[in-house]
Amino acid sequence: EAGVTQFPSHSVIEKGQTVTLRCDPISGHDNLYWYRRVMGKEIKFLLHFVKESKQDESGMPNNRFLAERTGGTYSTLKVQPAELEDSGVYFCASSQDRIAGGSYEQYFGPGTRLTVT
């Protein structure tokens, strides 16, 4: 079974540009999460999808960040326009539905390293 995949693995953009990160969760996982780690800080939650609906977006830093999950499969996270403080590693995770017999475990992807110059 394929794990969570993320694309690209690394992106370098200039301040003011737009970047779109993609996450493909494990097949059958209804829950999809985005997290971010800024250098020197802890991994922080951004938002949580259940299928195509946003369950919790309390961690989204501002309206320059837009997350979508059309059709309840893969998700994209767009940053527009990017600022220097957006640099960091963006992780995606997915999990099954607990009620359907799934576990609590959130499976993480390898992350996308975003550098804004």
Binding site: E42, K44, H48, D56, R98, E105
Partner: protein, 114 residues
């Protein structure tokens, strides 16, 4: 004040040593406690999780939760060079609540020397 505090290390031990990793937290509503291992340039991988207080053992790993002290620990016995990684504690509220989000510590970098 951060919700979860974790000593970032680095922690260097000789092969075969017992390693103790710890986190403290401030939110008494946390119910699930997890330890993730992260190798360089990889995503976090769940090692163990514990519900509420108590101990849980899995091979060379033991997780302990003391809710009265808001303190969790991970012990690694007979440490191996392959255990060298960053260890992250994470916590969440009760499942079925408003959120599934994980709250992470900063991670402790562990190096096991051969």
């Amino acid at each position: 004040q951060k919700e979860v505090e974790q000593d970032p290390g680095p922690l260097s031990v000789p092969e075969g040593a017992i390693v103790s990793l710890n986190c403290t937290y401030s939110n008494s509503a946390f119910q699930y406690f997890m330890w993730y291992r992260q190798y360089s340039r990889k995503g976090p991988e769940l090692l163990m999780y514990t519900y509420s207080s108590g101990n849980k053992e899995d091979g060379r790993f033991t997780a302990q939760v003391d809710k009265s002290s808001k303190y969790i620990s991970l012990f690694i016995r007979d440490s191996q060079p392959s255990d060298s990684a960053t260890y992250l504690c994470a916590m969440r509220l009760l499942y079925g609540g408003a959120t599934n989000k994980l709250i992470f510590g900063t991670g402790t970098l562990l190096a096991v020397q051969p």
